[in-house]
């Protein structure tokens, strides 16, 4: 039997407060796609981490741009693709933090991409023309 493929997307501006739209979007999706609250929380987290990076670092100050978030659910396979037009940045190349360090030695920050890697099964990056395309896949 062919698995049902569902798709939904959201476009936000490169502003931190737009993350609230992402939360609302996921709340609606939770109901519509009947995703468990725990999975929605994980999706929320990886999206926030990826989007925060883009919003904070991909653009010159005061440059307004749009970021596209595309979610596809096929059976228990969730694919999230984030596309932005910021400077080239490959999150998959970021070094993992050393999580065995003591509190004194742990640097503040640097956890965002690491959390994504821990939660998702696969991440990949592609620069396509003037766009960054970051893909995250999870099978539940």
């Amino acid at each position: 039997m062919e698995k049902l493929r569902k798709n939904k997307s959201l476009t936000i501006r490169n502003k931190i407060e737009e993350l609230n739209h992402v939360v609302a979007f996921l709340e609606a999706l939770e109901e519509e796609w009947e995703i468990s609250p725990a999975h929605v929380a994980s999706i929320n987290l990886v999206l926030e981490e990826a989007l925060t990076n883009i919003i904070f670092y991909a653009f010159e100050k005061d440059v307004e741009s749009e970021i596209l978030i595309d979610l596809t659910m096929e059976g228990s396979l969730m694919t999230i693709v984030i596309t932005d037009e910021g400077r080239p940045y490959d999150p998959t190349q970021k070094n993992d933090p050393d999580i065995n360090l003591s509190a004194e030695d742990r640097p503040i920050g640097g956890l965002g991409i690491f959390l994504i890697k821990q939660i998702m099964d696969e991440i990949s990056y592609e620069r396509i023309g003037s766009k960054n395309e970051f893909t995250m896949v999870k099978k539940w």
């Binding site: 725990a38 926030e48 503040i108 920050g109």
Partner: protein, 109 residues
């Protein structure tokens, strides 16, 4: 996100409710800093109503922990929801924070 101050004669007790994320982590930091005067040696944080945390929230937890350790103080977290505990686990934060099942246990240790 809401932080309430439930401190009494026995010590500093805060409770954090809702989401601590990139849109509000600075409010969380300010609320904690408000009670973090130089003479405070122990802070208890009720995490029972903390429903979501991202790396932006985690960095405030780490900042507070560093401050408390620098003054040989203690930052004790308790009643954390399993989903939040999982984020602490995968970040390696569970081993650098004191996390207790409830306030009573936190006080005894």
């Amino acid at each position: 996100m809401k932080v309430s101050n439930k401190s009494n004669d026995e010590g500093i007790l805060l409770a954090v409710e809702g989401r601590v994320d990139t849109t509000n982590y600075n409010e969380f930091e300010n609320a904690v800093n408000e009670v973090l005067s130089d003479d405070v040696k122990e802070i208890y944080l009720d995490c029972s109503e903390l429903s979501y945390i991202s790396s932006s929230g985690l960095r405030i937890f780490l900042t507070v922990q560093k401050k408390m350790m620098a003054r040989a103080g203690k930052f004790k977290l308790f009643s954390m929801q399993p989903a939040i505990k999982e984020i602490f686990d995968i970040s390696g934060f569970s081993s650098i924070f004191s996390i207790y099942p409830d306030l009573e246990t936190a006080k005894q240790n």
